[in-house]
Amino acid sequence: MYLTEVKTSDIIGKQFRYKFKSYIGVFSSLVIIQLLGLLFSLSGSRFSSSSAVGYQVDVQYYTVDIVMIFTIFWGFMSAMLLTTKAYREDDFAFITNRFSSNLSTIAFLAVISLIGSLTAVLSGFLLKVVVYLVESEPLLSLNRGGIASTYSLEILGAFVVVFLFATLGYAAGMIIQLHRLFIVVLPAIFLGGSVWVATFDVPIDLFHFYFQEANFLLFLLKMVGTAGVLCAVAMLIANRLEVKR
């Protein structure tokens, strides 16, 4: 009997393309959520005022921080959505095993995280244009000289954060697939953990550990490393999941 031999990498590539067509919905939600973020950003994200005798200076800051936060949330939710039965089992209509299916989904998550962060960072320009058109007060630009490399670094930084949260969503989603009860248990652990840290002054400061890292390379390493661990957890669980259909 003649059996077709397939290469895992080949199948992963095919699944990756297939996923771009079948999960196209994540991009429309990205557009909607980022436009919404921009709308909120129009009111300015920070306001400072100083005054002395005879004059007062009001400074209104415009940033796309909200767009960034929305994008991170979008990454988390989209990844979680992909772990649900309907999406997870799409692969099983064609050639797949759990390993290739997961790797192609993770590759897909990486690419959409990159696209999401790219548009999030670039939406800053759009915001400036809109503010310029609607605001009558004088505008000062705080941009860092507009050097392409600064923007690339910004995009890279945004990308690893969005991707980290996407893998977090993916791992959490898989845990929930393992048993329904985790829908309640996971948030409970998360909230309980934060309360515990806060009330007993436990010296664990995740926020500090991840987001206040001064060394950019080290920051990247922490982000990517954690994302890798989360992917591994998700794959270990997914390897046991059956296709109920």
Partner: protein, 302 residues
């Protein structure tokens, strides 16, 4: 070489056993029917073979490999059922093109021809189709993938009888042109009898029998005649069904273990001997004793 080999395969859902120590094997290039009542474990067995479910115990081998999580098995087998999950964002034609990209032996020309023949709307999405059309589309994917192991679970769900007949023809023609192992579960064994070569019968998670369809046609026999005459013949035999047909007339169905001479003698003693079709044989071999009549029988002596 056996394409499928199962040894004591058991699959447990929580506490319920869906498959209970099933052992059988299926050789290369056979068109096999998997039959059994509702809940007999047909779907579970097929999903285990397709690598979708993991067996609880026992050994499953497809192409001498364990199917769960095996990419080679997945590339060389396809599982078609009426709950196929296709992405709602893609049209039917796009899905066929995906099939072409994934499966090496895919016959796209045949796919498009069948697609046109069955009048499927090319711009439609899978979830918008009627049940019968979904089944038709799934069937096209299953046929055109040309996998060495093709598994159809209730492929005719929702199809009208014309489409069903067309499907049987298409299946047979494509099987003859490109021999491969095809496993079909069906509730319409009488319709498929002509094209199947072998039948595997499951009941309550256990294997009841596996035999060529010709043998199955001879497997059981129906005797009818006077009760006291029949008595002599059926004594000590395994009677599958007894039906009162008159005041003291009776019709019984039992395993055919009679020699030609015995049958001759029976006929001389006034017993009417008739054959039982394969599909009826499967029904009698797995139906509860007495049939549904028994449930409605309120007489004292039941």
């Amino acid at each position: 070489m056996d394409v499928i080999k199962c040894e004591d395969v058991t699959k447990t859902y929580r506490r319920r056993k869906a498959l209970d120590q099933v052992s059988f094997s299926i050789g290369e290039n056979k068109l096999v029917g998997l039959v059994g009542r509702n809940g007999a474990g047909k779907t579970t067995l097929m999903k285990v073979l397709a690598g979708m479910l993991r067996e609880s115990s026992g050994r499953v081998e497809v192409f001498s490999r364990r199917p769960f999580n095996d990419l080679t098995v997945s590339a060389n087998s396809i599982f078609i059922d009426d709950e196929m999950n296709f992405p709602p964002t893609m049209t039917l034609v796009e899905l066929l093109q995906e099939g072409r990209r994934f499966y090496q032996n895919w016959d796209h020309e045949l796919a498009m021809k069948l697609f046109e023949y069955f009048n499927l709307p090319s711009k439609a999405r899978h979830q918008d189709l009627s049940k019968g059309m979904q089944s038709t589309f799934n069937m096209i994917i299953g046929l055109c993938a040309r996998c060495p192991l093709t598994i159809f679970d209730e492929p005719t769900t929702g199809m009208d009888s014309v489409v069903r007949q067309d499907f049987y023809r298409a299946l047979l023609k494509d099987y003859l042109a490109h021999p491969r192992t095809i496993l079909v579960s069906t509730h319409y064994l009488n319709e498929m009898e002509e094209i199947l070569e072998e039948v595997v019968l499951l009941d309550k998670g256990q294997l009841v029998l596996q035999m060529p369809i010709d043998e199955l046609n001879e497997f059981t026999i129906r005797l009818s005649g006077k009760k006291d005459v029949l008595e002599r013949w059926i004594q000590g035999k395994e009677v599958l069904l007894t039906k009162e047909t008159g005041h003291d007339d009776q019709s019984v169905i039992l395993k055919n273990s009679f020699s030609a001479e015995e049958r001759q003698e029976m006929k001389r003693s006034g017993v009417h001997v008739s054959s039982v079709s394969a599909s009826d044989a499967c029904i009698y071999a797995t139906s509860p004793k007495g049939g549904v009549d028994h449930v409605f029988d309120r007489s004292e002596d039941k």
